[in-house]
Symmetry: C2
């Protein structure tokens, strides 16, 4: 990415790579706030420029359009949550604990970043340009944390040997999205603790091998 950005910049006044990255970060941060507060449709490049305290023209040096900016906002968001999830998956003494921690964290993301989750689900994932995008790759990395956890659980005899990690992963992420969507879309509440416990119990009941006491 650095090379590509530098390529675009050849005709521009020379600024340091550090200063360029700071600007990009400031724009993405401002765009995150504006999209988060107003939604994608209502947000404008002019408003994002004002929030970042730079000119509209400077935004167009780094981003082609509003959609490009949305993708970069969601990439930055996804990078944060993937890192957090990867860390979380290492915690917990038993498979059941680790599964619970992961489900709880995933649900918690919908509450902590409701508008970004809404943008991802309603604007990006159903769009034709999602396939092959950097966000899809980050999504793959995100869900692979759960696949790896289930595979390890099978390896350590804590999960039934015939459980399909891919299927279980789809069931969990699909279920949680479905449960979180009304909340993300502005309707109703989402009790993270209670829901995480109930989903974990259901899934663990279906695939887990309780430890002998």
């Amino acid at each position: 990415m650095a090379t590509e950005t530098r390529g675009r910049m050849t005709a521009m006044p020379v600024i340091s790579a550090k200063r360029m990255q700071d600007r990009i970060d400031a724009i993405v941060e401002a765009a995150t706030a504006v999209f988060g507060a107003k939604g994608y449709e209502a947000a404008s490049i002019a408003e994002i420029a004002r929030a970042a305290e730079i000119s509209d023209g400077l935004i167009y040096r780094y981003f082609s359009n509003k959609r490009d900016l949305l993708y970069r906002v969601l990439e930055a968001f996804y990078e944060r949550v993937v890192a957090a999830l990867e860390k979380e998956a290492a915690n917990g003494a038993t498979f059941e604990d680790r599964l619970h921690a992961l489900i709880r964290r995933h649900l918690g993301n919908f509450v902590a970043d409701r508008e970004l989750c809404r943008l991802f689900l309603s604007e990006v994932r159903v769009a034709s340009d999602y396939k092959g995008s950097a966000i899809q790759n980050l999504n793959r990395r995100y869900v692979s944390v759960l696949t790896a956890l289930i595979e390890a659980g099978i390896g350590q005899g804590e999960v039934k040997a015939d459980a399909s990690p891919r299927l279980v992963r789809n069931v969990i992420f699909g279920a949680i999205e479905h449960i979180a969507w009304p909340y993300v879309n502005g309707d109703g509440k989402l009790d993270v603790d209670e829901t995480a416990k109930a989903v974990t119990a259901l899934i663990y009941g279906g695939i887990g091998i309780p430890a002998k006491t």
Copy 2:
């Protein structure tokens, strides 16, 4: 609805209620085929009129615009699948059999009516006019078939007493949508039989009380 349609028609030449309904049905059928073949964006009222062998103007007597027509197409589709699901839920000797039949039918809908499912998931359910629509009501009726099945299972001692019918329902529908979406969106295959068996085994493993033999 009949009254409303009649109200709209007061200034029009008098035709029988039966003939009016036949026309509406023909338009909805043509729109289903055109949306199904071309998607929502690319479809035009003119094309739907040609397919229904009537004039564009006649469509506008019954429908305000393309979006109105999309909602009516999906309503007709949903009415069909709700009726089929309600029938299906009565089959099967045990709770596990009935659960399997219902999951299989739900998955099968995504294969049988791929484009209509895609339109529902990508155009309608994430849209702001979904809430309170007739389609949302049909969706509620559809998912309530599964809630009722789980409640009956608890009542008959085939499902754990502490299972939450609402949660289990959300987990199942969320999971299946998540699994079906790549296929519905034109990517990959969907093995209905295999997936239905695996999802049923997972859910039944989590909530079921096996019969004593």
